[in-house]
């Protein structure tokens, strides 16, 4: 025993000294020649914009991805990986919400809008060298419809996909659906290599494999995924596109401050997870630009118009709430001013937006009068929200203050995100906070989802709002191909839904992105929020 203790002590001393040296100085010599150029570091002032190789892009993201299968994922953050790794029949054109040819060089639609025929461009290949054919297009859509997860719902209008020839494919729809072309440019329109069936397990149509791998014909492919650490894209050797960026690392850095420091140090080129209040400080950095563009991402309040507090069934009460809000003060306090007040359901930047539509402004007297008319004095209502968005807490407090000015008491009910979704789906709330961003560039994404009474609950009509006239207008707008006529119908429906206020239309957020000055060629498309046009970018 004697010996044992003394030797334990000496050995612990030894370990101690080792640890102390590990903590204080670190084995710096072992790091030489690796990612970080530690030797002969230039002085702080002379620091280059990026310390990483010019053919490699480092993007800081905040969390790891779930599944990457285009037939399954509905998650915008997964799309930043899948979008550059797959191609679609049509693609969004530059900065606009219009589409341009992609895998399909041309297409035509029948008079009744029921058959869409696409002619494929030749020479596109999947990353294993297999050519992209009409067969692959059919396979992709059949697979999505068989898997029956989220994206299948978008494509439920497809009755049949027919292969006419190796370069021609026809979609037969069960009804006229004008936004169809636009849905093909969305992430779930990504064409999958039919060879995925070789990876099938227990009849899953390759879902398990595609959850962790990509099998598309885009300019890039996923080659490495260290869970919780990073995802790495490299070039698709068989793509006809020859991008400047050879490797893309999506580095998972959950902490905002850590991300900011790494951007400052030039270790990452793009930092996605930095909150607005820190962006002003970043603007002063010599090596960083903060891009600012209007987005189609809106933040709004669902006013439960049929299942919540009975007083809310009266449009006058909903209008009163709309008049109580000081919109400028709200965007200033929760978004540092990086937001624009909404005018109605369709945000600015998407066709169908009505510049002349009336807009609510704070008017306490008018709000009080409306409440009195409705006989809803001393109203007490609940506001449901979760911690899903960091700014919701501040927003809830601001709303509470605005409403108290018109004599409405607002109880704040903050609960877990998953639970809040369940309650919203069932209509168990008075007011609830929410955000929405469109999957495809068509006002259908707002008007039909938000107002059609067949979409009650999470599906989109989260206000449980029912108005026969509005139902008729949005359904008609979704069944004809004449764009001008559709726009007219949607504008009419907007005027009604602004007046009846089943939602409190708060603001559309700006898209803000701190980017190293060395990054060139990034084009922001509001339909592709958080998705990079990697093939055209360089450093």
């Amino acid at each position: 025993m004697k010996r044992r203790w003394s030797s334990l002590f000496t050995s612990s001393l030894l370990v101690l000294s080792l640890m102390v040296s590990a903590c204080s100085s670190a084995p710096a010599n072992q790091s030489q020649g690796e990612a970080k150029p530690a030797e002969s570091k230039p002085a702080e002032a002379a620091k280059p914009a990026s310390t990483t190789p010019a053919d490699t892009l480092f993007v800081g993201i905040t969390s790891d991805q779930g599944t990457l299968d285009p037939a399954v994922t509905f998650d915008n953050s997964a799309w930043k990986i899948t979008y550059p790794t797959y191609q679609r029949l049509v693609e969004y054109d530059g900065e606009t919400t219009e589409v341009k040819p992609g895998l399909a060089k041309e297409w035509k639609v029948s008079e009744d809008g029921l058959t869409w025929t696409f002619t494929l461009a030749e020479g596109n290949k999947f990353s294993d060298g297999t050519p992209v054919t009409a067969e692959a297009v059919k396979f992709t859509f059949d697979r999505t419809l068989k898997i029956k997860k989220g994206p299948a719902d978008v494509y439920s209008v497809i009755k049949e996909v027919k292969v006419d020839s190796p370069t021609s494919v026809t979609f037969v729809l069960s009804k006229n659906f004008p936004p169809f072309l636009s849905t093909l440019a969305a992430n779930y329109g990504g064409i999958v290599n039919p060879k995925v069936m070789e990876k099938e397990q227990n009849g899953d149509l390759g879902q398990n494999f595609l959850a962790n791998n990509t099998m598309g014909s885009g300019p890039y492919q996923l080659t490495e995924w260290r869970k919780g650490e990073y995802l790495k894209l490299t070039l698709n050797p068989n793509s006809s596109v020859k991008p400047a960026l050879q490797n893309i690392f999506f580095k998972i850095i959950p902490d905002a401050t850590a991300q900011r420091l790494q951007l400052e140090q030039g270790e990452i080129d793009i930092a996605e997870g930095i909150p607005n209040e820190q962006l002003k400080a970043l603007k002063d950095l010599p090596n960083v630009d903060v891009l600012q563009k209007p987005s189609l991402f809106v933040d709004y309040i669902y006013v439960n118009s049929s299942k919540g507090n009975p007083a809310l069934q009266n449009p006058k009460v909903r209008q009163a709430l709309s008049y109580a809000i000081d919109y400028d003060a709200l965007t200033e306090s929760v978004q540092e001013g990086y937001a624009t007040q909404m005018r109605g359901p369709i945000p600015k930047g998407l066709w169908g937006y009505d510049e002349s539509a009336p807009q609510y402004k704070r008017d306490v007297e008018k709000a009080k009068a409306l409440l009195a008319e409705a006989g809803a004095a001393n109203l007490t209502i609940d506001l449901l929200y979760s911690d899903n968005k960091a700014w919701w807490e501040t927003e809830a407090l601001a709303l509470q203050a605005f409403f108290s000015d018109i004599g409405v008491k607002l109880n704040l009910k903050k609960i877990a995100y998953a639970t809040s979704r369940e309650m919203i789906d069932k209509g168990e709330f008075d007011l609830a906070m929410g955000v929405w961003s469109p999957d495809f560039g068509d006002p259908y994404m707002f008007m039909n989802y938000w107002f059609d009474s067949v979409n009650f609950g999470l599906a989109g009509n989260r206000a449980f709002y029912k108005n026969g006239k509005v139902d008729e207008l949005v359904r008609k707008a979704a069944s004809i191909n004449d764009k001008a006529e559709r726009e007219k119908l949607y504008k009419e429906a907007q005027l009604i839904t602004i007046d009846e206020a089943p939602y409190l239309y708060l603001y559309q957020k700006d898209f803000l992105l701190p980017v190293s000055k060395s990054v060139k060629g990034f084009v922001y498309n509001p339909m592709l929020e958080g998705i990079y046009n990697l093939a055209e970018m360089s450093k």
């Binding site: 710096a28 072992q30 990612a35 779930g66 997860k149 790495k232 580095k251 902490d255 420091l261 979704r421």
Partner: protein
Amino acid sequence: MRQIITKRLSMLVLVLLGVTLITFFLSHVIPGDPARMMVGQRASEETLQEVRRQLGLDQPVWVQYFTYMQGLLAGDFGDSIRTQQPVVDDLIKFFPATLELALTAFIIAIVIGIPIGILSAVRKDTGWDHAGRFFSIAGISTPVFWSGLIGILIFYKFFDLLPSSGRIDLTVTPPPTITGLYLFDSLVTGNWSAFGNSLWHLALPACTLAFAQLAIVTRQVRASMLEVLGQEYIRTALANGIHGPVLLFRYALRNALIPTITVVGLSFGSLLGGAVVTETIFSWPGMGKYVVESIAFLDFPAIMGFTFVISFGYVIINLLVDLTYYALDPQIKE
């Protein structure tokens, strides 16, 4: 010895059974539908029902529990709803990272904490004692997200000595997985560049975590040492002319370590579960982040798997603590 182990192991089974039971029922009582989270908000009702059937969510909770336990006994933790991968695979991926971080922090806390504790006791009420106590109290009262960020600011931003995130450089290939502990695996395979690189990455997060745990060790060692030093047998030893290191280490420390082991053992359990914040700050790909994301997604199988592994670890540590007790003082029979 064998008796103790058998008895403890049977207790272990009971404890784990209790833990699974409580966690399972609690997590199923929370309103929220994981199937809905999985299929997305716009999937049709039919699809939703089908997924619920596939996941067995349409069964009564107790049926689900028995199905789950049946799988568990066969070593199957089910599939994660969020990542759609077997939970076992996810745990195998993330647990070693957390274990490596917690173990290193634990060793640092002990190796620094015990000498400080002894020093504080022996030099009671002197400058040494005050300094030691100040250091350890500073550690326990500074939130990890703060000390972690200060560490990053100093060692990453100003001196550029240590990396601020990850387990290993993106350009360095991790060692082949034997235990999943990078340090161990690279040592065994003689991969020195991976060893150095992962040690380099480990330094800051482990020291941050250790700093927060240090006070527990130093305070316990100091208190037990003071108590032991005041006892009669020490005075007897002193009267017999035994002083200095011999007295301190052979007579006093051994007795003082017994209560320390309990406290320190339990603190290791909390290190394992509590590394979440440290993992977030240092982008450490461990279980903490995995379980936080799983909770937000109501991913029951993942939450269950995490709880099971942590409670298993806790119970095993407890067993080890008891066995060490026994080794240190054979008079303790129970």
